[in-house]
Symmetry: C2
Subunit: 284 residues, 2 copies
Amino acid sequence: MLIGGIEAGGTKIVCAVGDRSGEVKAKKSISTRGPDETLQEVKAFFSDYKLEALGVGSFGPVNLDKSSDTYGTILNTPKTAWKHFDLLGRLQEDLQVPVYIDTDVNAACLAEYRHGAGRDVNSCLYITVGTGIGAGLVQNGCTFQGKSHPEMGHIIVPKHPDDSFAGICPYHGNCLEGMASGPAIEKRHGRKGHLLGDEKRVWEIEAHYLAHAIASYTLILSPERIILGGGVMKQKMLFPLIRQKVSGLMNDYVVMGDMNEFITAPQLDDEQGVKGAIALAVEV
Amino acid sequence: MLIGGIEAGGTKIVCAVGDRSGEVKAKKSISTRGPDETLQEVKAFFSDYKLEALGVGSFGPVNLDKSSDTYGTILNTPKTAWKHFDLLGRLQEDLQVPVYIDTDVNAACLAEYRHGAGRDVNSCLYITVGTGIGAGLVQNGCTFQGKSHPEMGHIIVPKHPDDSFAGICPYHGNCLEGMASGPAIEKRHGRKGHLLGDEKRVWEIEAHYLAHAIASYTLILSPERIILGGGVMKQKMLFPLIRQKVSGLMNDYVVMGDMNEFITAPQLDDEQGVKGAIALAVEV
């Protein structure tokens, strides 16, 4: 028997089947349109496999309060066709298996914790820096959720002294996502990050915002490891810059240990989303 | 049989005995000197009572890693006589009962969660704003700990535009504690907070820093309630100012509900420290 996994994003939905060890056997990427059209294609993909259970790492905001009547529904999203859509209920009906749902970032974090860069620690934070910025926490094997789920990418971070950019978050302007996401880099500098080469000022500013956020996450959550993924983090020169700035900000107040071990790259080659979705449905 | 509780602070140690319901039967405040002298007095206080167990809410940093050989010892503190002192071991030896230890703020949070302002919610954050600033989180009945324990009072918060004060934290200068603790208010304005009356600018600046921190805590931890205690929060005019600023910062990105219920005062009349210490030793 196989386990299904869905990484549900705003532009694409990746469906996969895998086994309990975390190995992915088959995978398909579907472009995200309205819920009906999209989920018909999802159902068609899974109809070839005998599934035991399904895990879903979903874009947010999603209702993760198990005591709520609307558990597993999408909340107040700009993707209006998905607003209030009962994603969990629909998948249970379509596939007739138990469905486990969490945020996309919690799922990705769980995959790295079980199979990747976090497999030797008891807690890790996975931060994705791409079109948006989000983070998921796994502690002692469990994903962290609060009253709703965290929205860590939207914290306000102090401005870099040489940065006059106003930020692009429609809600908060200059929050972390508004200042340091891929689209923020493009808007500030006029070109996408990967076309900006190693211009020192670009990555100095980017590292400033990410380091401030990481220092706050560390002081608030005290994770054993921080894993930085997403498109922007393909710029590997960011890692040493961020480590150096986080060290400076913490200033030995908390024992950080080896910064190369503390702040690290993912190990699952952009498969942490689906592997994490599968992991949500596998008890260990 | 009774439960003992110790609220161990840098200037005083409050010892109490109570029952499983959380009621305090007797209490004594002892000034904090060297560990030997202080703990002899602690032992003498408890020698009058038949204890079942003891809970300790300790100043930090304290080693809370149960798998560590030095679990329950005080870590790198400026109080040099207490550095590396085995607080848990000494209390177990002196009192011959099971001892449960956590941070002072986690203990206070647990007390408010069980008996006070958090007793109708599933998760709450207790923030103390006094000589220092710290916060503890309780979620589904459990206190939150990470690799070490959080140090939430030391996050960096953006400067208030009209504030030229450099901050007083010896590690971070202008972190939250450096900008908004009681001593920071006194240093900035030349008088203690309670002598500053209702000078608008004073509390506007104070609320700015606390609101930024609360917005970050909310986005990262997603607690159901935030309880603001400590000496500075005796200035009740801060509550509406903070609520208004947090609302503005969140800008409806996350559904906050009634802000008067979300951000609230403690209900345990400065007894949350000892009541929390007792609560640490009571399974519910």
